[in-house]
Symmetry: C2
Subunit: 406 residues, 2 copies
């Protein structure tokens, strides 16, 4: 078993990097705070005797040697970046539990057959740079390194510039390391495990995700003199679209979800009818066909609103991640580890995207979920219990041992 209080202490210690007054973390990928936690992580890994390498997208790899170095390493990990209103567990638990696994194996004097690898993937959150899970996608070959380096944040800064700004662009080619299997521990970020009183989620796959960038263009005019029927109010068009998108998701209840997360008026002024708005959309469902249907319905809704209100909608899909099934043997291995440890559990599909969903395209992969309070994530109040974190880390330890010694 891992040392739960040492794991908890690591979680609380690193929460200082970008820690917010409300108890959350604001540690956008490749920010100075992300640089701080990366330095902490490298030092902690080296102190645990791991060999740390960094690839051209800043992803950190910490290797624990095995008896048979000809075998591909069995890997775990997640990400240390957060949302602007992020919590202390999303991603971080998976990385620090991996570190705790390495430390516990050292304490117990255990050497594995295959080597073990602990990974901190760059930009999982996708808040600063879209898409999410960027570096793991490049690892799996979904994007080239150059494509990713050229992505820009809202301020126009490229991934390449951001990497260099905090000095964390490494020499390793992205995807150059072979991995034998990948297991990611994560908080569920949803309400199911808590509601059913289960400790471990045995994750069978991840749902599909489609991201869109949109603009709606009307015409700026005077708030006091422009009669209501003559207005081409971009905000009213946006409002109708947001509500239409909610209806579209609810039409595929209970599985589908849809979110307008960003909306920025071009040149806002109290007494000007809004003329242009940029916005984003996020549609998800475990079935590809439902995603297709939602995309079609979205474009139809925008066209209808645009025609009726004399507004121009432009909505472009910038990313689509198909639903991902995880490796059935690995899923069974997690299930067996949880059973052996005596933890209550259920099969589950991930609502969030994870680096594991990208890894699955190249490497046998699965995930382990633990509950979080009220199912809340991407919120500063995100919370998980020390006991559940330790239980997840134990399942991770036993799954990795089983895979590395098989």
């Amino acid at each position: 078993r891992i040392d739960g209080s040492r794991l908890w202490a690591s979680l609380m210690e690193t929460a200082a990097f970008g820690g917010t007054p409300a108890g959350g973390i604001n540690r956008l990928t490749l920010s100075p705070e992300d640089g701080q936690v990366r330095d902490w992580f490298r030092a902690a890994c080296e102190a645990a005797g791991l060999e740390v390498g960094v690839d051209a997208l800043g992803t950190q790899y910490a290797l624990r040697r095995g008896r048979d170095m000809s075998r591909k390493p069995i890997a775990c990990g997640s990400h240390l970046d957060t949302q602007p209103t992020g919590g202390k567990f999303d991603g971080i638990l998976g990385v620090l539990a991996g570190l705790e696994v390495m430390r516990s194996l050292d304490d117990a004097g255990i050497e594995t057959e295959a080597p073990l690898l602990l990974v901190n993937w760059t930009n999982e959150e996708g808040s600063r740079f879209a898409p999410a899970m960027m570096a793991s996608a490049a690892y799996a070959g979904e994007f080239t390194t150059e494509e990713i380096l050229a992505k820009r944040d809202a301020a126009g800064i490229s991934v390449a510039e951001a990497l260099d700004a905090i000095g964390c662009r490494g020499p390793e080619p992205v995807g150059g390391r072979e991995i034998g299997a990948f297991v990611e521990l994560h908080i569920e970020q949803g309400p199911i495990l808590e509601a059913e009183g289960k400790t471990i989620g045995v994750v069978e796959g991840g749902q599909g995700i489609a991201w869109f960038d949109g603009t709606v263009t009307g015409f700026e005019s005077h708030a006091g003199t422009t009669p209501m029927p003559r207005r081409r109010d971009a905000l009213l068009g946006l409002a109708e679209l947001a509500l239409a998108v909610e209806r579209i998701a609810c039409a595929h209840a209970p599985s589908a979800v849809a979110t307008m997360g960003e909306a920025v008026i071009g040149a806002p002024s109290r007494n000007v009818v809004p003329g242009q708005i940029r916005f984003t959309l996020d549609l998800r469902d475990p079935r590809s066909e439902t995603l297709d249907a939602m995309e079609t319905a979205l474009q139809e809704a925008a066209a209808e609103i645009g025609t009726r209100r004399n507004l121009a909608f432009q909505i472009e899909r910038i990313w689509r991640k198909e639903p991902v099934p995880f490796d059935t043997k690995l899923v069974a291995a997690v299930d067996a580890a949880a059973e052996a440890l005596g933890h209550s559990r259920r099969r589950i599909i991930s609502g969030a995207g994870h680096d594991a969903c990208n890894l699955a395209g190249r490497v046998p992969t699965t995930m382990i979920f633990v509950p979080c309070k009220d199912g809340v994530s991407h919120n500063e109040s995100e919370s998980a219990t020390p006991a559940d974190c330790a239980a997840g880390a134990d399942v991770l330890l036993h799954t990795l041992l089983a895979l590395a010694n098989a």
Copy 2:
């Protein structure tokens, strides 16, 4: 008659201060660009032999002496600040036509009985600092100078700091100058004159205005894992409120208008359900009772949406300007001047707020409107013809002469 081509040249010359590629002006009050046009204005007034003074809120007063200096000056003017997507005429025409009147009187060697006064009021637009028409309100005693100096823009900069930043805080006490009558020339900013083919709007008053600052608070949560029914999505609440406010205005058609001009998500991220949004509302109608009814309906709509969606709305009225009737004798004087000059005309109520609406609380006041293209204002494409601008300036000249020599 005034010199229409000289007036037009002044309009085009000053349009360079804050001029935008799209042919508009972005010259927020007390910005560096506003400082530039103020310097230009002072120099032009002094070159025309006017005595320029500045009050503690930066308002510029240019005096042309009369035969009887014991009489209160007959004043005209407007404002030189613009919206972020402003045009070349809103406010500017009224100030530069006043300058043109002074120049034309000089050319013709005309001395008036009462002195004449040309005023450039600070912050008419209200885009950077709320409320609009700030300095003229202080002149009329609706606010103290200290209250106005303490108002802050979205970046937290106070009016006092902004005045000092461009060195335009003057020594005169606000409201210290007596004025005998005030006549403001302005583009209509609405579609009525153009639609009816009339050159001059004889303005009988201004409609009522109510401004609100609001926030809607929900709960940030994960866009992929939070089931639709569990969401407390601030943006969906805002969307419903925006559409409700549109319906409320339309329920008082055709007179009422309502606008949500600003809406800013607290910590926006593509994959976070929006948790908090700040917004503004602008309600207008020529009748106080309709404004009252709209305010009540607005709060009721917010309460209903908030309860249904488990969101907290807070909507505070930060300004209310009651409908203003102009001085009937001055209205008649404008009508007589337009008739004498042979211009087609109609009586009209102003949809926009104007410094004249504040002056009317202390001084006999009226306005003169000229048409603008498609009724468009607060837009970079705002446009008026040289002939209409000259016609308005002629009516201003003859009205001022009648008042100053009466």
